[in-house]
Symmetry: C2
Subunit: 487 residues, 2 copies
């Protein structure tokens, strides 16, 4: 299993990601995705779409990243999306006050008030971790990036995609013929002025999210497809308890969770275990305590993955029962009623949010699947999201093999993400392909010229098969269980 | 052909796009893509990728949107990406000085100096177009959005995607095994503090671009695949001349354009005419005069489409020969040599940029393809980019037809973007599908229950065919000439 430094080096060397504006010394908290990384990112996003937007009445929308100041007044971000910061009087470095206390006392102090933090810093004589200088007063810093759009308008870069769905709710409800549940997904960038970005793609200032807001009738917390999941075992880590497996049915009964909420926990867990093939022992839902929970969440379990490079379970996303917090906020500030008429009554829909950090997922995939075994290094991504699906090798660069190989490459490019590698021994080319997780390596040899077949080698089994040239695409697609999927 | 108001109403009513933060009165220059619009946008972007990234050694990368201040010092944006603005002394409205003069004198004054503009305003006694008040002094406003990232770092929202490719060039050149030409594409958001955003998706403050930077050896202005295009006819509108058709060969000879440049003009034109099916008489390349050209462009032809709603040809993108302007700029400011060793010599590669406004293309598609004929309204988008590929109708909502239709719908959803419509007469459902350009309407009737066939009606010909249920996907894909295309 790789260390965080190994992931950083590997990501840079093989073209996944590296610091943004690198020739100017980089910009803390910003990363550029290189060719292989951006393919992985796009495939992961598309897999997410296919998985979560299959349900009827679930749609993707694409609202602007910059939003009106009033949006964040209504959502509470203007007042509450803040971090306590503290400046060293000697070296002038700005620290997050809660992190300084956390690092010193080895406990979690998120959500603690400024006064309490000051008291802890004084009582424990905590000094600047950088220069041992005296720490100054705590101030409160809003984490949103402010933009002056024009003389009149103030706006912010969105700190989460979610608000785009809430301010669009009424119009979307009309457009989609007034049905509930209504799912509105947004896949895109969000921005936060983190004081101390760290751990590569884990705490970034510019990052990508895939979020799904599900609007539903609060008088009906059942889900139509409940029977499909009720016997399914969730991996749960409730507050102050050990992690255990529990069926959906028991989670409703014993943990008093709404059926509708548990249904989507099952969906989320299936996404990680079945679609991304994350090992079961690396996944859990962790319930947040009252102190940790965002103020607007009625129920809040984080999605966590066990990442060795970070020393344990890490938040990758969450299942948030935001109830009517957001729509009521927008109703109050916009003075436009968010009430709808549904099932013969007036209601403000409740919202269940499924939130995923795309960059965090990519980091986790590298942590979990970068594998060294015997003399091989393999990125064991599930083939569906492997950045490149196949690599084309001419056995040698002569005797017409190179020409034939290039023709096959050009043909495959219309159907699959492929690369071409003619440098070094076949063994070295296999090794290069394995390291970035290419599931199929196609070799063109002298037999190819005679019988129009190639060798396809499977990354995971290293087994080789002869396949007819005009059967390559079908062969690979059937191995992937791949469907035709529209542009 | 629609007016701009008709496009606005249609886009809102059928879910293409509408003003962002709408419940707060909107935010000028910002739009949200709704469900149908975001599907169209994604398909257009994917078609662009398939078309332009087919070439060997052409790749997509995904750099951060926020970039280091130094990037824009090097690119010249800090000093030169400015607009002259003028404030009315009475009503305090801020105007673009060149636009005010343009609107008054009906000529183009882009690129004119502040002094010249002041003189024109005084000589022609131009007053505030809003309140007839006296206009004040001209000031210079930078169009980039500044962000204070931290105590140390200043950064900007990128005003074009291009710089992301330039600062990544050296690393990408290494990663892609030191080959030229090297194409680096970026598809994503860019931001400009426009003084007066207007014309819906045409002049926005937040917009999407698809840009391809092609790095090549300046000692070799030939293109390997020249023979494929040399006889192809370009539609050219040179400075101070009428639009005419000219083969690529003649363009090189008569207009003294480099072969490499003309090759990509042909590619671009084919994208619009063959891939997007834009009528030939609606397309042209327009050469920019020395005054109009961006200071860094050696050769600059805009890609223009004739849009009736805007009263004529409008810039949609451009083919920009930026030469070594950007790499030299970054070399100077970063003090890191951008020189590479290629083909037995040291060079700074030259850059040819293909630049496309995604939102402008979407606006143009609605303008060009929203068609009223006899009693039908049809959005005649080419099926490849139609937001939805098929619509599923049960003839009636009883007798098992609805159940069968839903099963077919669920099956098709795994393969295609489809919707389900069971409301109103079949005629009304056809009309709804036509208006958003759905190419195939699938009706489930009583015969379906007997012989497992459905009726598929073609949007353009209105012809109907009986097709077996398990043949629907193949039937539609073969009609689309669609390939398997990876996630």
């Amino acid at each position: 299993m790789p260390t965080i430094e190994e992931i950083e080096q590997f990501a840079k060397r093989r073209g996944f990601f590296y610091p943004s504006s690198e020739i100017y010394g980089g910009l803390a908290g910003f990363y550029d995705y290189s060719h292989i990384g951006s393919l992985l990112k796009r495939k992961l996003e598309n897999l997410w779409r296919r998985f979560f937007l299959k349900e009827n009445n679930f749609f993707e929308i694409d609202p602007s990243i910059i939003m009106h100041e009033k949006v964040f007044e209504a959502s509470g971000h203007l007042n509450s999306f803040v971090d306590p910061v503290i400046k060293c009087e000697k070296c002038k470095t700005l620290h997050r006050a809660d992190h300084i206390v956390e690092d010193h006392l080895k406990r979690n102090f998120e959500g603690m008030s400024a006064e309490e933090l000051v008291e802890l810093i004084e009582n424990h004589k905590i000094v600047c971790p950088k220069c041992k200088g005296k720490l100054g007063d705590i101030s409160i810093l809003n984490l949103m990036f402010l933009l002056n759009i024009s003389q009149e308008d103030k706006a912010y870069l969105r700190p989460e995609t979610a608000q785009g769905a809430y301010v669009n709710f009424l119009r979307q409800f009309e457009l989609q013929r007034k049905r509930l549940p209504l799912g509105l997904a947004i896949v895109g960038k969000a921005f936060r002025k983190e004081i101390s970005p760290r751990q590569l793609l884990i705490r970034m200032r510019e990052f990508s999210q895939a979020e799904l807001q599900i609007f539903f009738d609060p008088h009906n917390e059942k889900h139509d497809d409940w029977d499909e999941v009720k016997g399914y075992s969730l991996i749960l880590n409730p507050v102050a308890k050990d992690t255990k497996e529990m069926t959906c049915e028991s989670a409703v009964k014993n943990l008093k969770l709404p059926q509708f909420y548990v249904f989507y926990m099952a969906k989320v867990q299936k996404f990680f275990l079945d679609a991304l093939k994350i090992p079961k022992n690396k996944f859990r839902f962790r319930e947040l305590s009252e102190d940790e929970k965002a103020f607007y969440n009625k129920i809040h379990w984080d999605i966590e993955l066990d990442l060795e490079s970070l020393g344990g379970f890490k938040e990758i996303g969450g299942v948030h029962y935001r109830a009517d917090h957001d729509l009521l906020g927008h109703e109050k500030v916009s003075k436009k009623s968010q009430e709808i008429f549904f099932d013969e009554k007036k209601i403000i829909p409740h919202v269940l949010e499924l939130s995923f950090g795309i960059d965090r997922m990519i980091f986790a995939l590298l942590d979990l699947f970068y594998t060294k075994e015997k003399d091989r290094t393999i990125l064991k991504l599930t083939p569906t999201i492997s950045p490149l699906t196949a690599s084309v090798f001419p056995l040698v660069n002569k005797g017409g093999l190179d020409k034939e190989a290039k023709e096959i490459f050009d043909h495959l490019k219309n159907h699959l993400d492929v690369n071409y590698d003619d440098s070094g021994s076949i063994g070295r080319r296999y090794a290069r392909a394995d390291e970035i997780g290419i599931p199929f390596a196609i070799t063109i040899d002298y037999d190819t010229l005679k019988d129009k077949t190639v060798t396809i080698r499977d990354r995971d089994t290293t087994e080789q098969q002869r396949v007819k040239i005009n059967e390559i695409v079908n062969f690979i697609c059937s191995k992937l269980g791949k469907n035709l999927f529209s542009g």
